[in-house]
Symmetry: C2
Subunit: 281 residues, 2 copies
């Protein structure tokens, strides 16, 4: 059994020190509550609503920065895996919207968001590498950041590569929705979980930043696509799951989510434009 | 404005004549109610719960069969597009789980289900061709059948090829779901609609056949992924939509569902097996 805890926090824009304290306290609380995997929001160390590239660069840190070393220390104490978003200063001096993965005190991965949402394109450089599956002590974990999740190719890529859990640090800007509906991104996560028979843990953020509210859509989703835990305001969501269940892609005796794929028919998926309209058979 | 009507029917297993009457009456009623596009369930002419290949073959028809000619006649009267499922006898004498598309009285497409669910593999031959986009008088329509929808590559393929509407004749066998949840396949359809900014119209079936109940999940979904019409029992669902809205893939000024794709990173999507686990960056 793996206990996943998502901490839906409200980081302070541009205040590394405050966010160090906030995130380390959140990881500590999660581990005290028995977490094996802790997921923090996107850009948890920096906040999101930058107005300029300078603002983003001012809080961009390298993966060996003291804030992340603090995450690692707490992760090690709990024998946990910790995944959280940060503004990364690359070796090329560019700024990336990244997520770090600590397996105990060991940094096992830094994923750079490949699909930048809207204004992010003005200050961040998109990642040049696809996501990968990390073989951690808690299981095989893939990481996406926010908008990445909305590209079904990304969740499929990770599931085909063996991910049991897709962890998604996110900042989902508030969008209106019909009464009774979930945040639309949660619906997308549910579909990805079910179609790939993989666990998905999305950690959204709370608070308001420069007038921007958030969907507060944190959700832990099982391989049938059902939400096992969510959090509609500031606070945590906790889900106890058996990650190894994601290794079995069968639905029934003769139906299997992966074995039933027809990759030879999916040619258009990897093209970037319309191959054109055909009229009849 | 395009009026889409899905007719959630209860066909009679193995009774072509009864189902001819049922489906033609349903198309007529839809057109009398102003339908521009009518969607019928999967295998609407034959029923679903076959016990043998012989049973399936006994009700398999060619696309020029009188039952489908009846559909065409009514479609022509309404200037409508009609999409519905039937058990098809191929020129190779095999039996396919197919959907016919009539643009008025013209048969413009026959799509053969590519992903066969469970026991269907025992009597049907899977389609060998990917789905295509049909340029009809009502707009650009792609067709999938039931389980096809659960492969995100399929909806993506059609959307990239220019589909404004994906019509999905389906028979969703009943699955238990948590209170308040939609049929899981509807969640998948909502995610596909939103991620691709395409309309999706799923027409499920009703009734009980050899003890099998159905999700009765008929749903018409807009490009934001919201359900605009559904039908929880026998009967119709009607949605009035502007199909051309699906041509605009932008979310905001700097975010666009298609322009933001990174096909160069989606290599694993078209492979059929896990490329293996990597450990760290």
């Amino acid at each position: 059994m793996t206990r996943i805890v998502c901490q839906q926090l409200a980081p302070v824009l541009g205040d590394l020190e405050a966010n160090a304290e906030l995130t380390i306290a959140a990881i500590t609380a999660a581990i005290d509550a028995g977490a094996d995997v802790v997921v923090l929001p996107e850009l948890a160390t920096s906040g999101y609503m930058f107005d300029s590239m300078e603002e983003a660069a001012a809080v961009a840190i390298e993966p060996d920065h003291a804030v992340l070393a603090g995450w690692a220390r707490v992760a090690a104490r709990g024998g946990a895996v910790v995944i959280g978003g940060f503004a990364e200063r690359g070796e090329d001096d560019r700024v990336y919207n990244s997520a770090a993965v600590f397996d105990g005190d060991r940094l096992v991965g830094v994923y750079r968001k490949c699909h930048l949402w809207d204004q992010e394109k003005r200050w961040f450089t998109p990642g040049a590498e696809p996501p990968r599956v990390l073989d951690t002590r808690q299981g095989r974990i893939g990481v996406l950041v926010c908008y990445d999740l909305e590209f079904p190719e990304m969740t499929r890529t990770l599931a085909l590569a063996g991910a049991e859990l897709i962890a998604v640090p996110t900042n989902w800007p508030y969008v209106p929705r019909p009464t009774g509906e979930r945040a639309p991104e949660v619906t997308i996560a549910m579909a990805a979980a079910r179609s790939n028979r993989v666990f998905v843990a999305c950690c959204d953020r709370a608070g308001t930043e420069r007038g921007q509210a958030w969907n507060q859509g944190t959700a832990i989703i099982d391989i049938d696509g059902w939400v096992v835990a969510s959090q509609p305001e500031i606070g945590s969501a906790t889900g106890d799951v058996t990650l190894a269940a994601a290794r079995d892609k069968s639905y029934t005796g003769l139906a299997d989510a992966f074995a039933d794929r027809r990759p030879e028919l999916y040619g258009a998926v990897t093209s970037s434009g319309p191959p054109g309209i055909e009229e009849s058979r």
